[in-house]
Amino acid sequence: MKDFKYIRPKNLDELLAIKNEQQEEARLLAGGTNLLVYIKEGSLKRATLVDIGSLAALKGIREKDGYLEIGAAETITDIMASPLVSEKLPFLRESLQGFANPLIRNISTVAGNIAEGSPIADTAPLLLVLNSEVVVASIAGRRNIPIDDFFISLGKTEIKAEEVIITIRISIPEKGKGKFVKLGLRKGTSCSVVSVAVWLIANGRGVEDIRIALGGVAPLPLRAVKTEAFFKSKILDENNIGELALKVTNEVTPITDVRSGAAYRSEVSAALLLKAVRECLGMEE
């Protein structure tokens, strides 16, 4: 029997009090694009739906101390439309163009995308290559969780039952270029089979620094540090770039599911990584 309650906290203190009292029972409702699926399929039968969609304390996009700070209730559409985002980090806006579809982008949020600890959350690879932090709050106070520590295991994150995400902080890189590529079964409204984000700092074709993250190829969104090490200090050319990209197949641990086979995912990882690096270098468009 379904047993749901609804509450719309008036401010952050009220929200934190509810979360502290009800813990896991309080489920945060912003866009609701995960929550409503769970309710409809019956995997979630009882909860208090805590409506944070209009909570002013979780809104706003600003720049502070070299970071873009995005309120947890900001929609993907609003992030993409933000002049500040376009100016400081166009990579983020460009990458979000592949997120779900325009209708879903009008309601869903980055915080909601990562909060479920899904390995195919499309914003996770972006955050992983950009030194991001997830700011969570509880009645006890706030803490910043570095994105590298945020994902713990399949479906599990570092957020405690009494905590809520209030802000996503994304460091604004001083130099470099990023590219996000995803492969789904079709273009719109499609979960990723594999997604790859790259942030590359290059001097000509010499790699000064590179960050690589992937979705859909491991129980967690994966930062491919071993593959990054192969790339570092290399001068990239038409010949070695493909070989280097292939190294990622040793680092991913994909599974076979309804969307694709493990071997295919592994191959696609290398192909998408190659494409992303080439695009960062302006080698293809």
Partner: protein, 156 residues
């Protein structure tokens, strides 16, 4: 099971009902005779149930009714009537941009929101805007033609 009183503004009129916490806007609308809003996949994949909320097209199946308090909701019936079709509706007729018609109410609302934001969209922009609205029979060519024609603006 708890019920909540809710009053929503739909097509500029107030509509009151008692709903559950998890009642979707789609269910609320259909149960209150706004059956022009179509139920397709019910999980945010197909766009058939698209309505405009505060100027933006959203899938009403993925929206909780209680979340819409204080917002302005418009369904396809806000566009035009039999006697006086909205230019988009007329263009869909003229370009034969529908066959079974099931996706049309959602498609029109997405197109309406697009043209409000961007009165003269390119074909690429139209395709992107309607990428969350699935059509299983006509195909998208004629739908894009119809929206493009209104954007190019012979008739408003």
């Amino acid at each position: 099971m708890e019920l909540y009183e809710v009053e929503l503004m739909v097509n500029d009129g107030a509509v009151s009902d008692r709903v559950r916490a998890e009642t979707t806007l789609l269910d609320f609308l259909r149960e209150n005779n706004f059956t022009e809003v179509k139920r397709g996949c019910s999980k945010g994949d197909c766009g058939a149930c698209t309505v405009i909320i505060d100027g933006r097209p959203v899938p009403s199946c993925m929206t909780i009714a209680l979340q819409c308090r204080g917002k302005k909701i418009y369904t396809v019936k806000s566009l035009g009537s039999w006697d006086k079709l909205h230019p988009l509706q007329q263009a869909f007729v003229d370009h034969e941009a529908l066959q079974c018609g099931f996706c049309t109410p959602g498609m029109l609302m997405t197109a309406k929101a697009l043209l409000s934001d961007q009165p003269h969209p390119s074909r690429e922009e139209i395709r992107e805007a309607i990428s969350g609205n699935l059509c299983r029979c006509t195909g998208y060519q004629k739908i894009v033609d119809a929206i493009e024609a209104v954007g190019k603006g012979g008739k408003k």
